[in-house]
Symmetry: D2
Subunit: 364 residues, 4 copies
Amino acid sequence: MAGNTIGQIFRLTTYGESHGAGLGGIVDGCPAGLRLDLDAVQHELDRRRPGQSELVTPRDEKDRINMLSGLFEGVTTGAPLAFHIPSQDADSSAYDHLKDTFRPSHADFTYSAKYNVRDHRGGGRASARETVSRVAAGAIARQLLQPVGVEVCAYVERVQDIAMHSPPQFYSRSNVDAHPMRCPSPETAERMAQRVEQVREVGDTVGGAIVLVARGVPAGWGEPVFDKLSSELARALWSIPAVKAMEIGSGFSGTLMLGSQHNDAFIPGEAGSSELAQTRTNQSGGIQGGLSNGQDLIVRIGFKPVATIRATQETVDSSGKAATVEGKGRHDPCVLSRAVPIVEAMALLVLADMSLRNKSSHVE
Amino acid sequence: MAGNTIGQIFRLTTYGESHGAGLGGIVDGCPAGLRLDLDAVQHELDRRRPGQSELVTPRDEKDRINMLSGLFEGVTTGAPLAFHIPSQDADSSAYDHLKDTFRPSHADFTYSAKYNVRDHRGGGRASARETVSRVAAGAIARQLLQPVGVEVCAYVERVQDIAMHSPPQFYSRSNVDAHPMRCPSPETAERMAQRVEQVREVGDTVGGAIVLVARGVPAGWGEPVFDKLSSELARALWSIPAVKAMEIGSGFSGTLMLGSQHNDAFIPGEAGSSELAQTRTNQSGGIQGGLSNGQDLIVRIGFKPVATIRATQETVDSSGKAATVEGKGRHDPCVLSRAVPIVEAMALLVLADMSLRNKSSHVE
Amino acid sequence: MAGNTIGQIFRLTTYGESHGAGLGGIVDGCPAGLRLDLDAVQHELDRRRPGQSELVTPRDEKDRINMLSGLFEGVTTGAPLAFHIPSQDADSSAYDHLKDTFRPSHADFTYSAKYNVRDHRGGGRASARETVSRVAAGAIARQLLQPVGVEVCAYVERVQDIAMHSPPQFYSRSNVDAHPMRCPSPETAERMAQRVEQVREVGDTVGGAIVLVARGVPAGWGEPVFDKLSSELARALWSIPAVKAMEIGSGFSGTLMLGSQHNDAFIPGEAGSSELAQTRTNQSGGIQGGLSNGQDLIVRIGFKPVATIRATQETVDSSGKAATVEGKGRHDPCVLSRAVPIVEAMALLVLADMSLRNKSSHVE
Amino acid sequence: MAGNTIGQIFRLTTYGESHGAGLGGIVDGCPAGLRLDLDAVQHELDRRRPGQSELVTPRDEKDRINMLSGLFEGVTTGAPLAFHIPSQDADSSAYDHLKDTFRPSHADFTYSAKYNVRDHRGGGRASARETVSRVAAGAIARQLLQPVGVEVCAYVERVQDIAMHSPPQFYSRSNVDAHPMRCPSPETAERMAQRVEQVREVGDTVGGAIVLVARGVPAGWGEPVFDKLSSELARALWSIPAVKAMEIGSGFSGTLMLGSQHNDAFIPGEAGSSELAQTRTNQSGGIQGGLSNGQDLIVRIGFKPVATIRATQETVDSSGKAATVEGKGRHDPCVLSRAVPIVEAMALLVLADMSLRNKSSHVE
């Protein structure tokens, strides 16, 4: 209700602020009997962590996960999986100058309006640091989905106007992670990195687009009418800070086509596959009538340039008078590469939930 | 859980298929003491109804709402508001030829995969006809929000490549409804109508974009972290059939900017207003950190061309063998003008829910 | 949220007041592929209906169910099952004298305090008439559980101080329904009927106890920690009007025993059964640690004498001044026999939900 | 969904097993701006803690609460309140002999049936140790309700057959805690203590009854139809381990009365009070039509003798063969005094949630 929970059966509730004792969460509803690879979970946290390369904040948050419950001899017991990730850098004096002003395009003003209480130390719950708990939970969801054959990958397709030419498709993690930009085209990745470096030097920020692909999702996942797979993915992905746009399949470009061009003809399923049908094209992005159709799920998410910049900006203070706010300290000029594991996590959480919800779709 | 409910406090559950006894729903959680204008509710249904103009299906569904509970002397009592809209045209023999095939880019295949039961008569729950219940409930939400000063409008901004030039803004309903295309620029509306007519003649379909604007939303609505106002709007709007893309505020174009260009500077609130601050620009589209900031909410939604076309298409039958499916009967060449009240309804449902959820944000 | 929904996966939302157009509900989450016997559903409504015998109100409400959605050729499609039961007797002038007073021990005063709106015509949502929707939904749940082997029966064990001597056990419906009192001991039933008749004559009312038994529930249903099978049964059964007490298994008498007397020893499962173990005694009433243990579920529910009596009673009017209220019209001197199908329905709703929730308990 | 969450707006999710790293939870939905007294929270944990007197297990669990998030300068910020209570005594070798058998009337067998995974170390999630998180959250709820004037107290009314004579009423905490038995009648408390001591010596256990009283609850709390205040209290209280019976107000004794005896006449509200009406008697136990009526809430809960006893008992092993299980180590002969703060906590959680849910009951 207060918004810190996602999922119906496979359910994550998170806690923690940017400047507090730590962050964490509870995954409730993970079926018993799953042998959990905690190294794989930690590896996802490391992918999200700042300081992995020159391209992102050098701060070393470490982000070590502690599992607090729900496992016995390495296997899930059906009990809630709670985890805590202690924060190391609790110095919040760097935020003292923000005590009485609102940073433009941050959550300072809106949180203050909502809660009538101001915690000026960083972004609080609105900080991207909060997403660490989502990545941990997403890594658990990935392991639940792995035996079903579902694979999820995301990658940076575009930074500002520097974009890959190839259409969205599944790339292996080794391709994606080969370059710290997490763009699977090495040449484009390099140009992106240069742009990020230029922008960092002038204290500014850039956005871009991430593509998400899931393969191996069986036909029929998702729930009509309001909990369509598309709706739940949208909700989950739009909950990531800085998201301003989203497309599934053909997206905006599909809105320019005629129906006769856009429809995905059915053809018999691949020989040897259990699927009855596949589609000749995939304008649908793997979702028809809100349910998966067995084809690759294709989603594109647009991220704005993040709001923390070096320049002095116009704002108001807490009494409503005109004021200015100065940029201070280090910041991420481009969060896209770090957002890749977050995007994957949100999709994995939705798919894990949908896989369990689908168990009640028909009598046997 | 099975996806037919939306909202946490102001909550809608719907029922009904395209070819059945009727459609309807239950609005639970509407506060007592609201004097309900049922004519205004019926007027919204009329806006959604097919057969309003030459541009949409001539079928006359009528769509008369029957209120079944929750009112006493015209005022809500706090009891569930149930309503039923009887269906008139129950002839489903037009669908007999679909008994064993799947229409491309419809929900036939995915529903069959999910439920293992095939109701071949039209789209069932996946039919756009299902949205009639949402429009009814949205009209109730509008009346709850009216005293708070919240106004919601949507309009057709683009049909295929024919687009308005003005940036998204609030238009009065009389402007929007002046032309049956529901595009508030009369000249553009007329060109859109011609395109729709051309497409109808060849038995094809077109999509486009709808803009949604809400004004008067106070700062602080929405819930962190997963139930952001942006997330909930996304979930609600992506649940509308044929949606393939969405943007809030600057959208994809914002992802090309620098942070220094994109940030919305705060300036003191308008003289005489109770708001502490407003923003000089509105790249944020009225939402910062997932919560409303008091500025206009700006959302753009992209609709694909709908899948029902006249041409014969390639498909498979229910045993997985190659087959064809022929277009039959009348269909909507362009659903955008009818989608306008649906888009408004989904936004209204989210805002009504958020207005009630916000009541617990802080102690008094 | 507003309290008109029960269940997580198998979910019922109801609507309707005692004096309105009708009552009904939506069952969402019933798996597709269930062939629904609507006569059996109607039969349950008939069991609940007033006017079945001399022992209950002679009013003939009829209570014919109309299915509005969710079925195709008699089989559930996975779409919501909506139903409506029109009301026949809409005369509410009999309640005019209550416009400004509160009937003692009814919901008049508390509803007025909550909603600040007064619908004085009968009990509104608090009326026992509301339970008709529960009985309809429970009859659907029964059919979902039938192939699993779950059987639920309830019966009147005690009216005021006239009680059966046999301990709680499963009785067939034909035994229970053999006498209109729904007490399976014919001799006790007859004495109960005489007491009810005496009480009717003096315009008073009596309560008593109903026993609920479910057999065939597999071990492991229910969810720790807050959604124990016991908790969910308690919530469901305490939502029935007039319930004042409840026991599972040994109940209050078990609180007098020593642990060594109360513990249920395990013995090997019955030869030929798939159950690993059974218990020598059943003090636990079929629930251990909040989950079913495979033994019969045994619950006892105590009902107060209902509040509608003939005598003139002391009360206050809507301005808080002392007043009196007179009993008028016909009333049920004892609702226990009609409560039997309601008790069964609530248990069935909980068990159907738990059967579906249990599908995610462990990986395969 | 998996049962580890309670509440709709004020919502608690818990984690942790009897033998693990610790226990804790997340309170989501606590309004911002509440100054939290953490000493008062710790004091409630100390009341629940074993080893407070000779009457309960001498083990010293300490139970120190660590707040992990949601507070800024001692005030709630609207962010989730997460807390962790580290476990000290992690030695689980005492349970090795249980690896392959099921303790009678414990959750061992049912959990094993549900999850197909056996964590034999103590009760896991079914252990009463899990309630520590509820007590912590209940202490937060108490502070939210305190400014509203709601007070909640519970006490031991009966141990086996040794019972207080006074009818249920509100007692101050100092009266209740004056004797370690938590029975406010000193003489009865002393006799109870002797009984407990006798039972401990022979390695057996006893149960009894706890009374819960809440005063200051305004009229109109609770939600019809399924989320009645009575239903939600029932669900919450029946989720406490060892509960076998419950009564509200007149309970089973009320089922022996006539309606004319049972009805609670309304009389004008106390002079100077804002309440319109009060009742001459309180058979209703403060709840009418499922909603609070402004009178004291009166609930009685029956606890069975707990299942851990010293005697050797008959059982089966994990392959279904007859076996025996021996009692080992220390155990609580009577958990009633420690259950007092748990009962209070569950009632406080429900009341806090209802107080927030009620904010949407009517328009202003």
